[in-house]
């Protein structure tokens, strides 16, 4: 979406999720580039219709979880086997793996802890969400019941405006990017 900076953008406001989804499909098949859609709720199929790639956050979460698992294994190994081994309740502790069944709960919890928290931090970071950030939506109605589409203007403005009107846009506004 980085290359939208140079072309002017046309913003079109809609008031229905199905209309905006159909409009995205229609415009894309006519060769337009949809740079953004702001919506009050997730619209199923919109990411595919816009040609967005799958997010990799779940893959990241897997590796974060793995890191948590390794950390917990190391922590229990270091504290219970390496640094100060103690005979607790007669549980075998000659080496880590023998004592490991008792560590499963902690290993599980830390796996979840790492996966969930680091994934959420990544989510905030890639979305540029932080306390006090300026609202990213240009029109406040898009968190209520309106849907705002940003189309890159390539070619004649009147063609695109006419097409957007046909597709059900309520308001159309050109902005220089």
């Amino acid at each position: 979406m980085g290359h939208t900076k140079h072309n002017p953008i046309v913003r079109a406001l809609f008031n229905d999720d199905d209309v905006v989804l159909d409009a995205v499909k229609d415009l894309r098949s006519s060769g337009y580039h949809i740079s953004e859609v702001y919506s009050p709720f997730p619209i199923h199929g919109l990411d595919e219709a816009m040609g967005l790639k799958r997010t990799r956050l779940s893959t990241a979460a897997f590796f974060y979880g793995l890191a948590g698992l390794f950390f917990a294994s190391w922590l229990t190994y270091y504290t219970m086997t390496a640094d100060w081994p103690q005979n607790i309740g007669g549980k075998p502790n000659a080496y880590w793996f023998l004592n490991m069944p008792a560590f499963v709960p902690v290993m599980f919890e830390l796996t979840v802890f790492f996966a969930a928290h680091l994934m959420c931090w990544s989510y905030f970071a890639v979305n540029k969400l932080y306390p006090g950030a300026k609202a990213q939506n240009p029109d406040p109605r898009t968190t209520d019941d309106h849907f705002l589409m940003e189309v890159e203007l390539e070619g004649k403005e009147t063609d695109l405006t006419k097409k957007l009107q046909e597709l059900g846009a309520l308001e159309i506004l050109k902005v220089e990017a």
Binding site: V37, P40, F41, P42, I88, V106, V112, A135, T142
Partner: protein, 462 residues
């Protein structure tokens, strides 16, 4: 494309549009608090202050101010801990497990249920902290390098597993809740008129703008968090039950504890969700969103989990007899017929008998009846923990040390205080947070809204 079978009941009643949903859910945040809210809040606040006083008295004087004695050395503190953690479970069950099962009815209730989870786990967390006696040493439960040579915490101990389980549960539930709240805070921010309010919601909403890519990530993150929270919630009460099950006390040393505790937790949690939401929907006029369909679904969960708990009670009795261990047999005989018989039968009546009324459709769709049962169930679940904990230890191997437990005003005060604290948090939440996940709810309006469903039935799907 928004088709849903006509067999399913509408989840959003009335002729609603997206705008109506926004208005209805923003209303409690934007309007003045009703008188009932102030009455409830001041009552809860007084209870909270009383609890703080009792906690400070305990910390200043020592655990001796509680009713504990040499035989019953663990009583209300741990009873309350397990009770509060259990209540928390329904929130995660609704938001995570029902998300994985794609149950649309969760959307009207998940926000408040998760709020309940977080607030009740906070209450639960207080008890282990204060029952340490020396709360300023609480950091000793963390595996940190220390001044005692290299003496570490004991990772073989279920009490330490609990530390990890509860803190993971509390923090993961909180981020799960917050990720879902951000788009709804943005909705309030974008319509706020008062500049102070607008600024607060600007901070809270993290700048959310509802971009397509962000929604895609939002859905992915919600799904993965649900996938992580589902085994997490099961693990938490499993580990809580290990506190007892790994001991060698007759009545505690029971392999059925993990599933039995989890079922009991869901049971009591759903009852608390019913209690809270029946009030919320009434005071904030949300009957169109939290309707009979939701109440009935939750009552069915209460009925099923109540029956599971009943089976567990009976299994325990059977296994105690079948084990052939004299002490195990006596522990259960003493529970049911000993000096604490009244607690045992209160538990049996509230938890096993009372939910069976929910087999009747008429009763499970009756609001007043539901409200009464939801309170009864929570009383019963408190007794369950009391029965497990106190009746198992009050008559030990040495009859000369047999004893009873009687709570002091401090025990009672701290318990009442946590109830007050819980309601203080919940009432503040209900006034300042969007109590229904409105962004998610809007996604099901066209498939489950009454007006849209009627339209489909009359004109066919399209």
């Amino acid at each position: 494309m928004h088709y849903e079978s006509p067999v399913r009941n509408s989840l959003i009643l009335g002729d609603k549009s997206y705008k109506d949903i926004t208005n209805d859910i923003a209303k409690p945040v934007e309007s003045k608090a009703p008188r009932a809210w102030w009455i409830a809040f001041s009552t809860a606040f007084v209870m909270f202050l009383w609890g703080i006083g009792c906690i400070l008295y305990t910390i200043g004087t020592g655990i001796g101010v509680w009713g504990l004695n040499k035989t019953v050395d663990w009583a209300w503190d741990i009873t309350n801990f397990v009770w509060w953690v259990g209540i928390g479970h329904a929130g995660t069950l609704i938001s995570a497990v029902l998300l994985l099962f794609r149950q649309k009815w969760r959307m009207a209730i998940n926000r408040s249920a998760e709020a309940m989870t977080i607030f009740s786990v906070i209450q639960a967390g207080l008890f282990p902290l204060i029952h340490m006696g020396r709360i300023w040493m609480a950091y000793w439960v963390m595996p940190i390098p220390n001044q005692f040579g290299s003496l570490w915490v004991n990772f073989n101990s279920p009490l330490l597993w609990d530390v990890f389980a509860i803190s993971t549960y509390l923090t993961v539930s909180t981020v799960f809740w917050y990720v879902g709240l951000i788009p709804d805070f943005a909705m309030i921010r974008d319509r706020a008129i008062n500049p102070v309010q607008k600024h607060i919601y600007k901070i809270l909403s993290f700048g959310w703008g509802g971009k397509a890519k962000h929604w895609q990530r939002f859905e992915e993150v919600s799904l993965v968090l649900a996938g992580l929270a589902t085994p997490l919630v099961l693990s938490v009460h499993t580990i809580v039950s290990f506190d007892f099950a790994t001991s060698v006390i007759p009545g505690w040393h029971t392999t059925i504890f993990p599933p039995y505790f989890v079922a009991g937790a869901i049971f009591s949690g759903f009852a608390m969700v019913q209690t809270l939401l029946l009030i919320v929907r009434k005071i904030f006029k949300m009957e169109d969103y939290i309707n009979i369909e939701h109440i009935e679904m939750m009552n069915i969960v209460i009925m099923v989990t109540g029956s599971i708990v009943g089976v567990a009670y009976i299994t325990e009795l059977f296994i105690a007899w079948y084990s052939g261990v004299e002490y195990e047999q006596y522990a259960f005989l003493n529970r049911a017929t000993g000096p604490y018989w009244w607690a045992y039968w209160a538990m049996m009546t509230c938890n096993v008998f009372s939910p069976q009324f929910m087999w009747s459709k008429k009763l499970r769709t009756n609001l007043i009846f539901t409200f009464v049962i939801s309170i009864v169930v929570n009383i019963g679940m408190w007794f369950e923990r009391f029965v497990i904990i106190v009746t198992s230890i009050h008559r030990d191997y040495l009859p000369s040390s047999w004893s009873m437990f009687s709570p002091t005003f401090v025990d009672i005060g701290i318990y009442i205080g946590t109830i007050g604290f819980f309601f203080v948090l919940f009432l503040l939440y209900a006034r300042t947070f969007p109590v229904i996940a409105q962004a998610e709810l809007k996604t099901i309006l066209k498939s489950s809204g009454e007006n849209f469903k009627k339209h489909h039935d009359e004109h066919g799907a399209h």
